[in-house]
Symmetry: D2
């Protein structure tokens, strides 16, 4: 993996002249070596989005001084911004139900050092996933959900997530819909995998819907969770070819590979600070 | 292209034991050499679908005698069936509006002998396509459509299509919706290209819809036209990757390649008698 | 998974008239219900290849009688053939070195019932994989290989494989080249995953070769092992897009997903008796 | 298409601190609005590559003054650089043999305003393409090539290309190999389409080679022509799935779609100044 630690600045503001130059100049005048700089102007919204990454080695500001050093520039330019460090290991909570293929996949990617992160805990609404987490030595918390206890259980989950200082929540085929209250507590920090090519086949049993409709490709979509079902900003999508020979069971099997890969890519893009959500969309700086 | 002429039998019936054997046996006992045989059982519907293709050379029944020869077997097995000959050039009518990329593409594929067909005429609701057809020496008929004259113009179009003994109608980015009356006259013989990954983005301006939603892939879908908008049996679909950098104009440009290829494949599959529509679906025997 | 047990007949012979009919007729006259029948004629080689699958339920021959029943027909038609049963769980041996992503993937697919098979043992030339197999309760055998002991170790491996009545050997990123003697003992029963789009980048370090060449896609290829390096019949291939931004490490990471999926598909196709190798090629009846 | 004219600066130099900032600063201090800025550091070669694009409107230097304005900065930083203007229509020469699908495709893309370019002339070594160019009103020059006259004919072609001030030469399935002398006159300005996934199947008849080898995907590669056959820097590649059912003729047919699309994308990337070749590779700033 990456050896030299870097600082990553994510910027978001109304478009105006000189933004690239002024931000690059801040890095340069403090002796930083830029390893990645990319920006996007959404001309319809008049919005400027940028990602800059530079090596901390040789940078004249200590990592604790960068916020104070950049704040006046940001204030002057009216920026919304966020500073990250590449060597910070984010803390992940994974939420699952019965299906364990995405859970396994995430834990194996973490073990292969694909993620700059540590899975701090797994929450299940069903006990099965516990045997998987045990193999990886990760704490498992069971919160069975039914219509009566949902609000109450979510409160406990939120308390647990806060206690463990969770940075990112991944819904790895979690078959419950989070309440808007829960979703709003982690804006753009809850990633879901939906097993269809959104916006096709929103809601439940998308493989059954795809089978009924007779499509020739099935898809999977990874997106941030908002308070509206399956409409959050899309991070990554992909598809796979199917034929009339494929039963619903075949779709489910083929879809598992798709779900694992699409979710794995989305989580990695997020952890590497390469996703800038804005409105109902994302810019992906990869 | 294929040199030896073949007969193609398409069969459709409730599933029962022995269908493959009995149909293959009919061909064999008359001395036919099977070059392709494929079938599908839709277990949910209890439906059997089959395509058999054999060389006419050496077959003991003359091509005019095959229908009479097979009819008793078909009656006995309660088959719906259709007999085609690979050396029959089907007659196509293409319907277009202003965009000419799909029209050009179809005419070039025909010129490259990709299609066992001849485009007999082109119908436009806009005069622009006339200059394209002139280059290829194909008659062009202009039927401008407005809400008042639609039924009347369609009557004239249907008369023209009947006069020219048209086998297949291809809507090559034809921006009008056919009336149910028109559609019902050519069941499973009108192929449309819709510029989205159906069932996502049904209706008008799908690229604008895709842009607004922030999807990461765009698609195109070729399907048979029924009396309901964009819900006919799907023949072929494909997708292409886009990014946040792509404007609506970029989506339209990238989509043109997709539309041409998806429509070209669908038309070819139909002309080669490889598509068996049933219910809202198709089996593709390629 | 499939509930009704079936018989699968794989046939291979010089092309001649009536093969489809005669084989289908054998099934039908014994009361079998064909659920899949597909064939291919390689006109260049004059070769006929066929796969027929029918339900054992209701078939008048007991599964032990089918060989005797079909043998006279086969002799008459000069067929090479093979009979399989869908409910037979094949016994797999997986061979690995240090990388464990393909090993994990195969074991998880088995646990998800994607394979009609059981992994009987894992052979490693390096001890690391032992911790993975322990989690799944599968015996692990360590045979460290060096230039001096290779022939000797292979002898022991062959003895072990024979003892365990292994049907299929999967080289899941096994970094040793098998001797021709070993390969010839399991013709078309050793599946390898090569981490390139063959025939590009044969041999060692294909991701490094791909990086040097500046290709825009990388691939993976699953093939049967023959006595010549990386030239056996190809079962499955796929590719993934890369860019100039990707380092060799990124290629290795992206390639892991590709290797897992391509190998998983190839193993499944083989286990379902859907692969008919002939010459340097395969026909895939999926 | 893009309405506001822009300047595009392509930069190429040994990596050093401050390059992004200094180049962005040049644009900003002259009042330019950057619409695209992207760079790549090849850490193995120690090379820095950058593309910056800004609006000419509001820029304080007239377009004729930019070279003089930037030259001192470039000299100071030891840059190799190139300045382009988005409203400059490049002049293309297309070279063809008998196959006309890529020729047609390029001319139709130009007619659809996909290219900021004008095809000034077409050179053929075979008369057939003349009827295509006539339809589009483009001059056609016939230079039949045989082993005896090759050097002589190339001299005439080079003279013609010079006369017409050609910026880019596109080999649209031109079946002759250019001499090193010819290739060296237009470094990184001759784009070829090779009908395989390079480096697989270098040389002649790649579809036949692919058929013989039994691959499961075929590809096409667009690359700059150098003095060595099929080894120039790759701009774009793509693949399409094939099966054992596909004959060589099917590969050729499927490959035509691939060739058209891959070549179309490569030409567009080049014309938009998004390709930076270095060594045997390219960086693509799209």
């Amino acid at each position: 993996m990456r050896k030299v630690p870097t600082a990553i600045l994510l910027v978001h503001c109304p478009d105006q002249r000189g933004l690239v130059a002024k931000i690059a100049d801040f890095v340069f005048h403090n002796g930083g070596n830029i390893v990645h700089a990319d920006h996007h102007i959404d001309t319809e919204c008049g919005l400027f989005l940028m990602r800059v990454e530079w090596e901390l080695e040789g940078f004249q500001l200590h990592r604790d001084e960068i916020v104070a050093g950049f704040a006046p520039i940001a204030a002057n330019l009216n920026l919304k911004w966020d500073l990250r460090f590449s060597d910070h290991r984010q803390r992940i909570a994974i939420m699952v139900s019965k299906y364990d293929h995405c859970l396994y996949d995430l834990l194996l990617r973490e073990a292969s050092d694909e993620f700059q992160a540590r899975t701090a805990l797994v929450i299940g609404n069903h006990p099965d996933a516990g045997s998987v987490t045990a193999r990886f030595g990760i704490p498992f918390f069971l919160f069975p959900i039914d219509p009566q206890n949902k609000a109450e259980q979510e409160e406990k989950e939120l308390a647990l997530l806060a206690d463990h200082e969770i940075d990112l929540i991944v819904l790895a085929r979690y078959m419950q819909i989070l309440t808007p209250r829960f979703a709003s507590r982690y804006p753009n920090r809850i990633i879901n995998i939906h097993h269809s090519f959104l916006p096709a086949f929103i809601g439940s049993r998308p493989y059954h819907q795809a089978y009924e409709r007779g499509v020739k490709l099935i898809g999977a979509t990874s997106h941030y969770v908002t308070d509206q079902l399956d409409t959050g900003p899309i991070i990554e999508q992909d598809v796979i070819r199917i034929s009339h020979r494929d039963s619903v069971e075949d779709l489910i099997r083929k879809g598992r590979d798709l779900e694992r890969i699409v979710l794995g890519r989305a989580v990695r893009l997020h952890l590497d600070s390469r996703v800038l959500p804005y409105g109902q969309k994302t810019a992906i700086f990869d």
